[in-house]
């Protein structure tokens, strides 16, 4: 067992130690239901109305969902996952609500508790369903609203509740705070990395994640090596370094905003022009695509994934990569929120090819790639562990059929989930990071 797998297992054990929070007292069932409904209503706009009115209940979205495909459980069909939202729309907002209401059941507390399983344990928000719908319905955005409704009712899985509260109140996740970052950086700098902390006058700030700091600090060192090589004037801030956003994951929009605001305010205060997000899918999404909408204003800086930085630096001639010597082949695991929901599809492949890797694509890849099974907090949930291992197995078979020497990804959560899954089935194909691979091939 290699060291990164050992650390992944240690993190899994640490997550298991998190005491479940009992559902918050003081909220009656009626209040929870009302909160969920209000959260639904806040997000139901004309676009969602068109989506809900267009769905013909063909059920094709099920055939895209890795959770349905691996279990054949019809309740995991994406269209079923947003059923509560449809009900509320038909009772409260539809132009035909006066007709629909008597025939449409109201949402109950039992519904919210039942749907919690569907939208947290059996959905990573991977958005594969968005790509299959023949009517063009943005299915995952509807399911997302259900997650937020359940979050508003404070009925999210207890472990996520604890974690998002910790991030909201203490600016740390599983104990990973500014001091933890300082210690990791000190160790990395001792090993030769040059990571500037809390530097004044920087125009670029780098974000990392709890997963990277606990499991893959080498990826942080790789980010630093790349940014230093291309001459970026960059830093990390000990009070605003976390790209992971547990508010987003838990469906708590207030906690989502708190975590986003920390980064935005810090960047504004320091005059930051560019925020670079390390290897994380949801961290990239919550800032790059949701950040401005969360804050209600355009962000005062540009947001790039480290992959975009590498690709641009290569194109500009600021970064040269050496050809790998041993003719290895790789399969690239597309992190859903970087690729299908983020638009970063070609860059990682170009980068890998530039280093001389033969890319062996899985049967479905890129825009239609399967989720690793652990995205959007899924890998934190004990209740979802059986399901995510089934999805991992689907993914593993895809990799095995492709027959590459190693699997490369660009998301610490994907990497963690793949490592844990591989360990459980004793699958020994190396699982590595794209940014670390780049750092290892940088010309002197």
């Amino acid at each position: 067992m290699n060291s990164q797998t050992t650390r992944a297992l240690e993190m899994e054990a640490a997550l298991e130690q998190i005491e479940p929070t009992i559902e918050r007292k003081g909220l009656s069932d009626d209040e929870r239901v009302e909160r969920a409904k209000q959260a639904f209503l806040r997000k139901l706009d004309g676009r969602k109305a068109v989506d809900l009115d267009t769905c013909i209940h063909c059920g094709m979205c099920a055939e895209a969902c890795p959770f349905y495909l691996t279990t054949q459980n019809e309740k995991y069909a994406p269209v079923h996952k947003y059923r509560l939202l449809r009900r509320l729309y038909r009772r409260r907002l539809s132009p035909m609500r006066w007709l629909y209401k008597p025939f449409t059941p109201d949402i109950t507390i039992d519904d919210l508790r039942e749907w919690r399983h569907y939208v947290f344990d059996a959905c990573t928000g991977c958005a594969r369903c968005d790509m299959i719908c023949p009517m063009g319905v943005n299915v995952s955005s509807l399911i997302r609203i259900v997650r937020e409704g359940i979050g508003a009712a404070d009925l999210m899985p207890p472990r996520l509740q604890r974690l998002k509260n910790e991030q909201r109140d203490k600016n740390s996740i599983v104990g990973v705070d500014g001091e933890y970052l300082r210690n990791v950086v000190a160790t990395l700098n001792d090993q030769g990395a040059d990571i500037p902390l809390d530097k004044d006058g920087a125009d670029t700030m780098l974000l990392t994640t709890v997963t990277e700091l606990r499991l893959f600090p080498t990826a942080l060192a790789a980010n630093a090596k790349i940014l230093n090589k291309i001459g970026a004037n960059w830093t990390m801030y000990t009070d605003a370094f976390e790209a992971a956003n547990l508010g987003y994951v838990a469906g708590d929009t207030k906690a989502l905003r708190t975590a986003t605001a920390r980064i935005v305010e810090k960047a504004r205060e320091q005059g930051i022009k560019t925020v670079v997000v390390g290897e994380t899918g949801h961290g990239y999404q919550t800032l790059r695509w949701l950040g401005a909408n969360t804050m209600g204003e355009r962000l005062p800086f540009d947001v790039y994934s480290i992959l975009e930085v590498v690709a641009q630096a290569q194109a500009d001639g600021r970064l040269e990569l050496k050809q790998q010597a041993n003719g290895s082949s790789v399969s690239y695991q597309d992190p859903c929120r970087l690729s299908r929901k983020g638009g970063i599809l070609e860059q990682p492949r170009r980068i890998l090819e530039s280093m001389g890797y033969e890319i062996r694509e899985t049967e479905v890849h890129g825009r239609e790639d399967y989720c690793c099974g652990g995205g959007c907090g899924e890998y934190v949930l004990s209740t979802g562990s059986k399901l995510r291992h089934k999805v991992f197995d689907l993914k593993r078979h895809q990799f095995e059929d492709a027959g590459a020497d190693e699997v490369v990804t660009a998301c610490a959560s994907c990497r963690y989930n793949l490592l844990i899954g591989a360990e459980k089935v004793e699958w020994d194909t190396p699982i590595t990071s794209l940014v670390e691979t780049v750092a290892a091939h940088m010309a002197d």
């Binding site: 068109v50 267009t54 063909c58 269209v79 132009p95 299959i132 009517m135 401005a292 947001v303 299908r340």
Partner: protein
Amino acid sequence: MENMTLLDFARGPGLQWALWIFCLGVVWRIVGAMYLLGNKDLSKARRTNYIRSGLRAILTRSTPAEAFEEKIRFQHISGYAWHLALFVSVLFFAPHILFFESILGFSWPHLPNTIILFSGAVATALLIALLIRRATHPVQRLISTADDYISIAVVLLPLITGLAAFAHIGLRYETMLALHLLSVELMLIWYPFSKLMHAFMTFPARYQTGTFFGHRGIKA
């Protein structure tokens, strides 16, 4: 005389009322949905050619991506076959064209009756097959509502009564014709309240999803 009265009603006020309800209902439903508006996406676009992204999605969603094709082949093919057979039966049957001409003021060539009979039979058989699938496939059975079943029924009725009138099966011709017209009127009245509205909503839905993903640089 009684049958003629029924036919007169079906051809006259019945049709007029059905068309009014259809038109007003459709407009009400579309305007009502659009009235909710949408929140502007404040994130910096990766691609700003929204019209192209939207139109692309309208086109590309007409066929499934290669990665999905095998899994949804039956629904994909049967869906196309059903709509095609329906449109051929509705739009290219000589008496239908005369009817449309009386409303629109212009006409177009018709197809031979044997082709119309065949397409009508195919449409009916396919719709029954899709109904059986809906009632038996675990996912579709779970997600189906009364709207799904009623909509199939009100579309089946004009097909069955039309075929019966055409083939002189069952009641006398004038009665079957009146029932055929009344069943069409029932469908028109049901239309704006039901999933049949998807005919008007599909392209806008595809367009907006195309622009949503296009904003992020993804061809959806």
